[in-house]
């Protein structure tokens, strides 16, 4: 970006801001967003992530079949036919990376979504009602946190993967869905489930702590004095105020979950070959590290790039949202 374009971007941001103020009022979210607009690293990260998503979820559909083997053409070099060459089974690497990204990113997003939904509701209720309810709910969280996460996921995965094969077969038989697609879907569902089931624990604690302090704030008292019911106060007045930290935490958990997916797949517990995910690709690539390092390096680059982008994005969001305290 040249200095000139930066300048215009800056003033345009300014103009946008004053315009908004005059017309609709500027919410704290809007302010944070504008503040983040000044954080170049965060914006670049956002673009990297968006482009990755577009490639994986849009462009991938026009690529070659990632499962189609061609044993006569193993370890091919990049060419017009195979942009990044082929792997040990003669499958198109480029298309495998994109399809793998679909699963990895989806795991990250869906597991985070599940974790946020459960975590926010659970934490908010626990903090808001307090007393015995709070004690019971938080001890439950403590208990769950004390169970080794990886072990539970391994057990769940073992139990559920059998289920996934039978379900997949059943769906194909009764509803006539595309077999590959169904296999892919049911293969990763247990992973979503297992990660989401445990991912909400920390978030519940964060939200609970937030709610504990928020419920003593004067605007809650004011809302009570206006005759609002407790449930309405919780969902309308308190939870929106916890969303700042939640969003930051969620953005930072997405790469965490992507990492978990990779770890589990690498250990052979997550996505199974021939399905593709970044974890699988790294696992397969590692086997040919000496002879064909590009099989490890190329998926690794996109994988790291995405993780970096998400982490920087989370940091940027935190910086942008943290100023909130001084604004109210």
């Amino acid at each position: 970006m040249t200095p000139a374009t930066q300048d215009t971007a800056g003033t345009e941001g300014q103009r946008d801001y004053s315009l908004l103020q005059a017309e609709r009022g500027s919410s704290l979210w809007r302010d944070a967003w504008l503040r983040m607009g000044k954080n170049k690293v965060a914006i670049v990260s956002l673009f990297v992530f968006i482009i990755t998503c577009l490639l994986c979820f849009g462009f991938a559909w026009f690529c070659k079949d990632p499962i189609q083997q061609d044993l006569t053409n193993k370890f091919a070099s990049p060419s017009g036919e195979h942009w990044l060459g082929t792997d040990a089974m003669g499958r198109d690497l480029f298309s495998r990376i994109l399809y793998g990204g679909q699963i990895s990113i989806l795991v990250g997003l869906v597991a985070t979504f599940v974790a946020v939904t459960i975590g926010v509701t659970y934490g908010a209720i626990s903090g808001f009602y307090g007393g015995r309810i709070d004690a019971i709910m938080m001890r439950t969280v403590d208990t769950l946190l004390s169970i080794p996460f990886l072990m539970v996921v391994i057990v769940l995965q073992a139990v559920l993967s059998e289920w996934s094969t039978t379900t997949s077969k059943w769906i194909v038989d009764t509803w006539g869905w595309n077999k590959d697609f169904t296999n892919r879907a049911t293969n990763v569902l247990p992973l979503f489930f297992a990660l989401g089931l445990f991912g909400w624990l920390t978030l519940a604690r964060i939200v609970r702590a937030q709610v504990l302090s928020l419920k003593e704030r004067e605007f809650v008292e004011a809302a009570t004095s206006l005759g609002l019911s407790r449930l309405r106060i919780l969902f309308r007045h308190i939870i929106p105020n916890t969303l700042g930290p939640t969003v930051v935490y969620a953005t930072l958990t997405v790469p965490g979950f992507i990492m978990y997916e990779a770890t589990l797949s690498y250990l052979g517990l997550g996505v199974e070959s021939p399905n593709s995910s970044w974890g699988i690709l790294i696992k397969e690539g590692a086997n040919y590290l000496e002879t064909n390092p590009q099989l490890l390096i190329l998926p690794g680059i996109l994988f790291s790039l995405t993780l970096f982008a998400l982490n920087f994005l989370g940091d940027g969001l935190r910086d942008a949202l943290d100023v909130r305290a001084s604004k109210d």
Partner: protein, 324 residues
């Protein structure tokens, strides 16, 4: 029959350091359209008195030990959450000390101000918005139709307090409780807000309970003044009567310590000592240890002085050491 009659209200807090008797037997009443002031220093139980009536005291640790607050034949202290919710914000509303924190920073003013209308009046969003815009105009907010779409942080302190007043009065309540509404504002804005409350009160016929520690403010707005000390009312009189003829030693000390009463350069008068520790039961006159203007030796120490009518609606705690 008075609009609101509070009798022998006792609100205690059960804390680790013992039972804090924040409000210890307070009685007063409020007529329709009247403005009653409650004045006292920090921790004297002014706010807790009003919080108790609206069920805003956190329980636990708070507990209403005794008393009744009869409003339109409903006892606010014992009627339960559901009935209370019908009263709050509709028939009795409240404005708070700090307008900077009593609005939700994440919601538009429009959302917050229409909430009581939708809730209590069963209005649709559109009608409510129209009402809200008019209400904002009435409390002196310029361009209300634009400002209503903004967020609290885009308003100044005085403007936010105006929003709070508009919000509290939007359902035309019978009673408005103003809990130190001007404390957090600067002096020029204080006057505007006081005038605004008075104007709106006259227009709507609302009765106001005005809590403050600022005697200048209270003399300006109130018909009747209750002076509170250590959770009890020590003196009650009409505003003029109280200022011209204070009877209780505490009231006299309070009036004497107003800076404007002193000549320039003269040392300001302060009441010696500290407010009593209300976590210990006080048997006699609560003001006894700090009583300097009356005769300390004559203060009751074994039994609690009762409020006594000295004529013309002037009530004062019957403690021989404090009376004058």
């Amino acid at each position: 029959m008075p609009l609101l009659e509070v009798t022998d209200l006792k609100t205690h807090f059960h804390t680790r350091n013992g039972i804090v008797r924040a409000v210890d037997g307070v009685s007063f009443s409020l007529e329709k359209g009247q403005t009653v002031g409650i004045v006292g220093e920090s921790g004297s139980g002014k706010s807790v008195t009003c919080y108790s009536m609206l069920g805003l005291v956190p329980m636990p640790p708070g507990k209403i030990e005794a008393g009744s607050a009869i409003f339109d034949s409903i006892d606010l202290l014992s009627c339960g959450e559901k009935v209370l919710r019908q009263v709050r914000g509709k028939r009795i509303s409240m404005i708070f000390q700090d307008p900077m924190t009593s609005l939700n920073p994440y919601l538009r003013i429009a959302t917050q101000i229409t909430e009581p209308l939708c809730l209590h009046m069963g209005m649709g969003k559109k009608t409510a918005l129209g009402h809200a815009i008019r209400a904002l105009g009435e409390v002196g907010i310029p361009e209300p139709e634009k400002r209503i779409q903004m967020y609290p942080h885009e308003f100044s302190g005085g403007m936010r307090q105006r929003v709070m007043i508009a919000m509290a009065l939007i359902t035309k309540p019978e009673i408005l409780i103003a809990d130190e509404p001007t404390t957090a504002l600067d002096v020029t804005v204080q006057k505007q807000i006081l005038d605004l409350i008075k104007d709106r009160q006259q227009e709507l016929g609302t009765a106001v309970i005005f809590i403050t520690h600022d005697l200048a403010v209270i003399s300006e707005v109130c018909d009747e003044i209750n002076v509170m000390y250590a959770g009890r009312i020590v003196e009650r009189a009409g505003a003029n009567e109280l200022f011209s003829n204070p009877r209780h030693a505490y009231t006299r000390a309070l009036l004497k310590s107003i800076p404007a009463m002193h000549a320039k350069g003269e040392q300001l008068y302060t009441i010696p000592g500290l407010p009593p520790d209300v976590s210990q039961p006080i048997n006699g006159c609560a003001f006894h240890p700090r009583n300097e203007l009356g005769e300390r030796s004559k203060c009751l120490t074994d039994k609690r002085p009762k409020l006594k009518d000295t004529g013309a609606g002037h009530w004062v705690q019957d403690c021989p050491g404090c009376l004058a």
